[in-house]
Amino acid sequence: MSTRYLWIRDVDRPADLLGEDEDGRPVFSMNFEALAAAPADNWPRALVKLLEDAALATFGTNCWIGSHSSVPDGAGPFITVVATGGGPTDLYQNGAEYERLSAWIVVRAATYAAAEDRALAAWRALKAVTNATIAT
């Protein structure tokens, strides 16, 4: 499907989650929000598409969607994209609707530097998207 995202913006800069995952890998996380013309059913797949376009992720290989997805052993970096609650839909008098979206992105890698580098690169790729139609 194809959805027009009026904007995707960062809510925060990548932050160290103050710990390691179950495999001892440092973890960074960041949050994004977006406004999209309804229906925006391809969120958060659209975020993955942008990460793939920036050569920062390959869905199913080093990037997954959903908190249920299991991250494999290995050095990574690995990215997990989780849809969060967003906000109320913006309604207009003629029936137009814009959906308010949000997502949480977690990056983990074998070293602190690798996790931080990939998190910062992903953040820079996603934090300033404006008026983009994203097909997934």
């Binding site: 904007w7 913006r9 008098q93 003629n94 137009a96």
Partner: protein, 154 residues
């Protein structure tokens, strides 16, 4: 206990895009936020004299209407907004158009105003940095007879 209130969502302002065409062919204008249907009033003149112990007023016979106004998402090239057929064209060319204002759930003759008027204001178009939408206020000055729910007032 009040129980008959209705939500304001679902109203519309429609315009005759081609004033020389068939009358009553209205096209709903773009993506609107709040719509202000004009207020109605009559001018008043105080006529209290020195001898009066309470105020007296003369209310004028002429009905006065305020501006029909609102805010739209500004979409460049939208035929209801642009400089070729839309609100901007009507303003640039001082062209009188027919307007239909429908309240939520309105239809022909129900929760409906119809009148003629000119676009008195369009813009400024605001392009906010970062998250905001491109939007523009508009105002329409109705002039002459109008219908309220199918009843003519002139």
């Amino acid at each position: 206990m009040p129980s008959n209130a209705i939500p304001g969502h679902g109203a519309s302002v429609a315009m005759e895009l081609n004033p020389s065409g068939a009358q009553g062919t209205f096209t709903v204008i773009g993506e609107m936020q709040d719509i202000q249907r004009p207020e109605m009033s009559r001018a008043e003149t105080e006529s209290t004299t020195h001898q009066d112990g309470i105020d007296y007023w003369v209310i004028a016979p002429v009905i006065r209407r305020g501006l029909l106004s609102g805010t739209v998402n500004y979409v460049n090239g939208d035929g209801t907004l642009d400089h070729l057929t839309g609100l901007q064209y009507a303003l640039l060319n001082a062209e009188e158009r027919g307007f239909q204002i429908l309240g939520p759930g309105g239809s022909a003759g129900v929760h409906e105003w119809i009148g003629s008027g000119e676009v008195q204001l369009f813009g400024p178009v605001t392009y906010p940095v970062r998250e905001g939408l491109a939007q523009a206020p508009f105002a329409i000055r109705l002039s002459g007879p109008m219908y309220i729910d199918g009843v003519l007032f002139s």
